[in-house]
Symmetry: C2
Subunit: 203 residues, 2 copies
DNA sequence: ACCTGAACACCGTTCAAGT
DNA sequence: ACCTGAACACCGTTCAAGT
């Protein structure tokens, strides 16, 4: 059933899934297109019917990651409909847990292997969607008078940078936690959120 | 002179320099060890006398990057010996300019291609040195009573994350500026520093 | 001690040919 | 329309052999 699907129209998605799984096993760096093809039960040339490039397949995987982040951000909004601070905290924590869960996808999304500027529409839109879902949280905070009214785009950028930078460290940095140590991740996320909200300065 | 050096003891450094230059031309992703060797005027097997691996060469390049950051941080300290806020701002700006100048080295240092946990001593020490030079700034801010007294390591981490996340965006993100647009970089760095110091919250 | 040349297994990509 | 098999140029790495 699953297998036969591969050969009547779903090869594209099957290749994406296989790539994600293999990346989880031995990293983006060591991922070869031939391996993905073989593992999906298809010849080395078959992927080229669905992706222009190896890069195009990687872009598709990165898009999955960005859509996931957008979904988490939206979820955080709905969970705390009236509290932008808690929305931010929830969104940040979700991002961090995602990074701990799927470090290789995060590495792919930003690290390299995908360019984010000379890329296809799918990835472009997925990335912008994720960014805008965060901007919406900040904007709401501004309109409620709890956040500063600096330039929205730049504030979003700085916020994203903080959480993303932390997730990079978690995903592949010096402080990769002992296999998804949930408590440690929460502690870090909460600290980062507090610092983001209140700043370094003593009041 | 330079060329003859390559063949009496300096091949190691020559390979590092060549790799950095080639990365600048066409990115880490497309960098091959054979190409580095050829470009340094040496056979494909020669690098293996000086580096265990292709990965080991990349680690050496990443180390160069971390040492550069440490130096910038120290410089920022000396420039404003009595003002931790300005130290932080100067360090952040230097990091951002470095990222704009050598995006591929930044991509290598964090993006992937170097693991930072299963790595050689040289890289380990270089990375820790960079981290600690930042921690020193924060610590001084705490002891002068201008920064909050949260856990030093975590505060350093969050600070580093903010600046690093921003530099990632600059280096290879959606907002790569028009070839080292210095004014834009400064504006971003200043905004990030302000947000870092004062937080998102309206006072 | 340091480097070369040839070799091995693998890779991305293309293309004629099959169904 | 979608896939295969064989081919091309390239890659990382090893190793005997050269100086």
């Amino acid at each position: 059933m699953t297998k036969s699907n591969y050969h009547h129209g779903d090869l594209r998605n099957s290749l994406i899934d296989t790539a994600i799984q293999l990346m989880g096993e031995h990293g983006v760096t060591r991922l070869s297109l031939r391996e993905v093809a073989k593992s999906a039960g298809v010849s080395s040339a078959a992927p080229y019917r669905h992706f222009r490039d190896k890069a195009a397949l990687l872009e598709a995987v990165a898009s999955v990651g960005f859509r996931r982040i957008e979904k988490e951000n939206s979820g955080a909004c709905e969970k705390f409909p009236d509290d932008p601070c808690e929305q931010l905290r929830a969104a940040g924590l979700a991002y961090l847990h995602f990074a701990a869960e799927e470090p290789e996808i995060i590495a792919l999304m930003f690290g390299r292997g995908v360019s984010l500027e000379n890329c296809g529409d799918e990835l472009q839109q997925a990335a912008q969607g994720a960014f805008q879902s965060l901007a919406r949280i900040i904007e709401k905070g501004q309109s409620r008078g709890v956040f500063k009214r600096l330039e929205l785009h730049d504030m979003t950028l700085a916020t994203f940078s903080m959480v993303h930078g932390l997730s990079m460290m978690l995903a592949l940095g010096p402080l990769k936690p002992a296999q998804s140590d949930s408590a440690r991740i929460n502690a870090l996320g909460n600290l980062a959120t507090t610092m983001l909200l209140e700043g370094l300065l003593e009041r």
